[in-house]
């Protein structure tokens, strides 16, 4: 499978495989349903067997083998090493005891602010979405935050309509330090590239093999220079295990 063109892999799996590569070295990961959960599962069965998956429903050491609709789904409970309550999990989060978190959202901006609340104004929105859930809490508290987004240009904006989950950058960094919060999103992973955070917002760090610079920035509203780093090549173990995730 090494000869494969990465473009033949589905969008969600491409995001999951890049994210899984980034989870090496972590022991505990706060995950939500969807691509975050897939990425963490993929890491756990390949490059980071020591990773403990933690869901806000209270499942710890979980490892869902089938599609999960809710963090409280049977597949999350099934095979978990521990089931406690949400208070315990969020307490661990606030105490800085969970190392890394993965989030997705409807919109992301230049500083990694995420929006899952409204498109338009809060009181009179065009689209009313599901709200924060635990996303705000994770974005504030987790020491290391990775944001995962399919490369759909409408999701990438200069300024999100509503800051559900706060980002990073010069202004927010000061507040994060003042309130003793996590350092905010350090990484943005799309299905085409990897972006890292600087005081001036996201910069393009590296591009997935088989994709061009133009692919990586296509339709994104930010000013993004070509990356200094080599193309992203994914560990063969991860590629071989992609069928194990949904």
């Amino acid at each position: 499978m090494t000869q494969n063109n990465y473009k033949d892999i589905t969008i969600n799996k491409r995001i999951a495989m890049i994210a899984a590569s980034e989870l090496v070295g972590y022991r505990s990961c706060f995950v939500g349903i969807g691509i975050p959960s897939d990425a963490a599962c993929l890491a756990k069965i390949t490059v980071e067997k020591n990773l403990n998956l933690i869901y806000e429903s209270g499942a710890i050491g979980a490892f869902p083998h089938t599609k999960s609709y809710s963090t409280g789904s049977p597949s999350i409970a099934h095979g978990a090493e521990m089931i406690t309550d949400s208070l315990s999990v969020f307490s661990e989060l606030q105490a800085g005891r969970i190392e890394v978190g993965l989030l997705s959202a409807a919109q992301i901006d230049k500083y990694g602010n995420l929006n899952s609340t409204v498109i338009g104004s809060y009181d009179n929105p065009k689209v009313r979405m599901v709200g924060s859930g635990g996303a705000h809490d994770i974005a504030c508290l987790i020491p290391n935050l990775f944001t995962l987004m399919p490369h759909e240009p409408r999701r990438f904006v200069d300024k999100v309509d509503f800051v559900t989950s706060p980002g990073s950058g010069l202004e927010l960094d000061k507040l994060r330090s003042k309130y003793k919060l996590g350092r905010g999103p350090s990484l943005l992973i799309t299905d085409r590239a990897k972006f890292k955070m600087s005081v001036d917002g996201w910069y393009l760090h590296s591009i997935l093999k088989d994709f061009s610079y133009e692919d990586a920035i296509e339709g994104l509203p930010w000013n993004l220079k070509p990356p200094a780093s080599e193309p992203i090549i994914i560990n063969q173990d991860i590629i071989s295990s992609l069928d194990a995730i949904n």
């Binding site: 599901v130 924060s132 800051v163 706060p166």
Partner: protein
Amino acid sequence: MIEKISNITEAIKKNINDNDTIFIGGFGHLIPFYLTHELIRQNKADLTICRSGADILFDQLIASKIIKKVIFGYIGNPSVGLSHSFNRAYKSDIIEVEEWTNQSMILRLHAARMGVSYLPSKILQIGDKPSNINYLKSTICPYTGDLYSAIPSLKPDVALIHAQHADKYGNIQMWGIDGDTIEGALASDKIIVSVEKIINNEKLKEHPEMTVIPAHRVTSVIELPWGAYPSYVSGYYSRDDDHYMEYDQISRDEEKLLDYLDEWVHSSKTLKEYQEMIGKERCNSLEKGQCGKK
């Protein structure tokens, strides 16, 4: 000992008043659908409903126009889509909304459970705050000078929850995913519980660590097998994911949703009728589905 076993009509009629604030249990798991539908059948008015992550049961209550206010951290149809009735009500301004986050909702309930009027937390100090919680205040640690949000307690009048087992005195046993169900129940003044099965007190005492709410805190217990359908019950039956997906389509259309509510709520006046709506075949299949430890 006082026996707490009741029937659903009496339990809801006696213990829930118009204008009450109601915590509704179930975090993906153990959502008290049938018990809570009784609020609709009895046409209660001006209720406030609350929990951290709210799913389609909240949508149904809002569609039934018995809700004055909703307090939540998340509201939607998990992994499927939006809460369409909530969204319609939100846009047309016919319900009050108080929007928090999951952690802050849980801390609100935890404060009430602990008997204090607020708890300090690091969250909700940066990012946008929904205009409905502009009243949120801050607090400062007198030792370290650390700055915190002051998360105000939320003490519901009544909790409606579903669990696996109870004895006739009202000791409640539950296992599997809890989320904020126990926290919300213990935060509330009254606790009404539907269970899959009433078991005897001797059997219950074999596993005291499975008891999550003690008898003296429980107002009423009602045996309602399949009462958590289309959510699931560890040890009993799996989640009907298809039902949730179909509900997404149905609830986009107000007319279709009224038909749905007529079938699944108004016409299901007895538990037997609800079980018939689910159907034998589906019951068999869900009992065989993944649902965790017996």
